[in-house]
């Protein structure tokens, strides 16, 4: 068995005890990533030299009997939207094709301080805008479970890299489902923490009131460990929470005695593929058999989540993406005749179709005469939608739901119809709008071998509850270990 099959917890344990060197693990991960990346396109950049340097540092600490950290020697992939000092960071866009940040994001610094080894930057939908990873300027990513299918998006490269066991864990970002949906499509655990739990400093901004960073791993235990390493207050991000970070490993309990699990009827309506429904029902049955009381619920504004999100996110994006002007960094058009021409051409040439569409939509919805009808209205419905969740969590500890209506779809299937692509996010958008923590955990496979995700949500700052419920499902479901054919 390869070291990389053993997961984060095991690798860190072996490196800390000196049984395996961090350099051995990093070398193996780099070799595997190089070998398999041709098929998957999961990485945009591999960082050999830096990875080996970090690994040597961890090994030195081990030999000096110093604590190398929670993630000692664990190779990780970083979504290429988190800044890495001295390593090109593209956000999946041509406009940042040659951008080399002069500083690192807080999450990357925390991972490195915990002993993790950054082996590369993973592919993504341009500026994290997409649900299939087909919007990347660096080409689409393939799903290791079926390479004719999408890995999900926008953290598709991170998901594919972990599913194919190139790395045991990767960092994703989730604005409307971009960790949970690819985790579901690739059979992983992916956590979107509470808004404010993890620093966004040095994360290329898409929609600032929604963006969150989180872990993508094989097991719930590994996800909890990685979340531990990246959580907490950051003086450089004023939206991070002052709340103390709990010890997430204490939530790794194999039952849910005393839990009330809410099932909102709107998440179980028609339109869910039968195999997905059956697997989700099975996971709910596990929770019930392990002590949970099931409580039927209604969250009547659920279906409006898409409309709210596809106004608010583009509005925020149109403002955030205004910084790409061809002056301070990023692509600059050649032969502009004046400054205005420079702005318009640099942006027209540098942005791909999806960011352009969202900039246009957001600029329109924020423009004079339309602001109240679109942006303000969406923000009002957002409050109602959040209040519904707050009310529901007075009755229940967690809410269970599917992640998506079906498993991974075919490459190209929805690429030409933006609205069809947006509708894919129906179950992941509401928790993002409410700012509550939500995760996806694998709960089975279709007959054709595609993974199915199970979504769990909790109230603000209550990640422990969804970790406990997910761990209960994972440990009691009894799924036979599987790996994607050829990986």
């Amino acid at each position: 068995m390869s070291l990389l099959d053993q997961g984060i917890f095991e690798i860190a344990k072996k490196v800390r005890s000196g049984e395996v060197s961090a350099k051995t693990v990093a070398t193996e991960a780099l070799a595997r990533a190089k070998n398999k990346n041709k098929e998957l396109n999961a990485f945009i950049t591999l960082t050999d030299d830096q990875a080996l340097e970090q690994a040597e540092k961890v090994d030195r600490m081990v030999s000096q009997k110093r604590d190398p950290g929670l993630l000692a020697g664990v190779p990780v992939g970083i979504k290429d939207i988190l800044l890495t000092k001295g390593v090109r960071t593209t956000a999946g866009s041509k406009i940042l094709e040659n951008f080399v940040p002069p500083y690192s994001s807080t999450v990357v610094e925390k991972l490195e301080a915990a002993g993790a080894i950054t082996i590369g930057k993973t592919n993504l939908d341009e500026f994290a805008m997409g649900a299939s990873n087909e919007n990347s300027a660096f080409g689409p990513v393939k799903n290791p479970w079926d390479t004719s299918r999408v890995p999900g998006g926008s953290s598709g490269g991170s998901a594919a890299a972990v599913a194919a066991r190139l790395v045991p864990g990767a960092i994703g970002t989730d604005t409307g489902g971009s960790i949970r949906e690819p985790a579901a499509f690739c059979g992983l655990t992916g956590i979107k923490p509470t808004y404010g739990r993890v620093s966004r400093y040095g994360v290329v901004a898409f929609a600032s009131s929604l963006d969150q960073v989180g872990p993508m791993t094989h097991s719930v235990q590994d996800a909890a460990l990685m979340l531990q390493a990246i959580s907490g207050k950051d003086p450089k991000d004023s939206t991070t929470a002052v709340q103390a970070v709990p010890d997430f490993s204490k939530a790794l309990v194999k039952n849910v005695k005393g839990f009330k699990v809410g099932l909102p009827k709107e998440y179980f309506a028609d339109g869910i593929e039968p195999e997905v429904r059956a697997a989700v029902d099975n996971a709910i049955a596990v929770l019930k058999s392990q002590g949970a009381e099931i409580v039927p619920l209604s969250l009547p504004l659920t279906s409006h989540g898409i409309a709210v999100y596809y106004l608010i996110a583009p509005c925020e994006a149109s403002s955030n993406l205004a910084r790409y002007d061809g002056v301070k960094y990023g692509h600059r058009s050649k032969d502009s005749k004046d400054l205005m021409d420079l702005y318009c051409r640099s942006r027209g040439e540098g942005f791909g179709a999806e960011p352009k569409r969202r900039i246009m939509l957001g600029t329109f919805a924020l423009s004079s005469g339309y602001y109240d009808a679109y942006y303000k209205k969406a923000c009002q419905v957002r409050r109602l939608l959040r209040d519904d969740f707050v009310k529901a969590f007075k009755q229940v500890d967690v809410i269970a739901a599917p992640v998506a209506t079906g498993p991974a779809f075919k490459l190209g299937e929805k690429a030409d119809d933006p609205l069809a692509m947006y509708l894919n996010d129906i179950f992941t958008l509401p928790p993002s709008l409410a700012g509550i923590p939500a995760l996806s955990v694998n709960c089975g496979f279709t007959k054709s071998g595609l993974p199915i995700g199970f979504q769990l949500m909790a109230k603000h700052w209550d990640e422990e509850k969804i970790i406990q419920a997910a761990f209960t499902v994972e440990q009691n479901l009894g799924l036979a270990p599987r790996r994607p054919h050829g990986f």
């Binding site: 409309a307 149109s318 051409r345 209205k377």
Partner: protein, 94 residues
Amino acid sequence: MAVSEETIRKIAHLARLELTEKEVQTYSKQLTGILDYVSQLSKVDTTGVEPLVTATDMAVNFREDKVEPSLSPDDLLSNAPDRSGNLFKVPPVL
């Protein structure tokens, strides 16, 4: 509501985005479809509802007003497409 090609050109200018004629046509069609879809929100009664502009009710955390180390001008200008000393260089404004 239909978003005309003329409106698309106006919005593109506001967004400082050069679009091809084909893009103007595509976005006119697609924005019309998307706005038609989001118009469902008009059915939700939001009388007296305060807009929610961020996800949690946390107060903004201010830091102490003291000088801390920051990046050097050279670091900050290291990605500039064109510079002159410590300044960003751009083509003539007029």
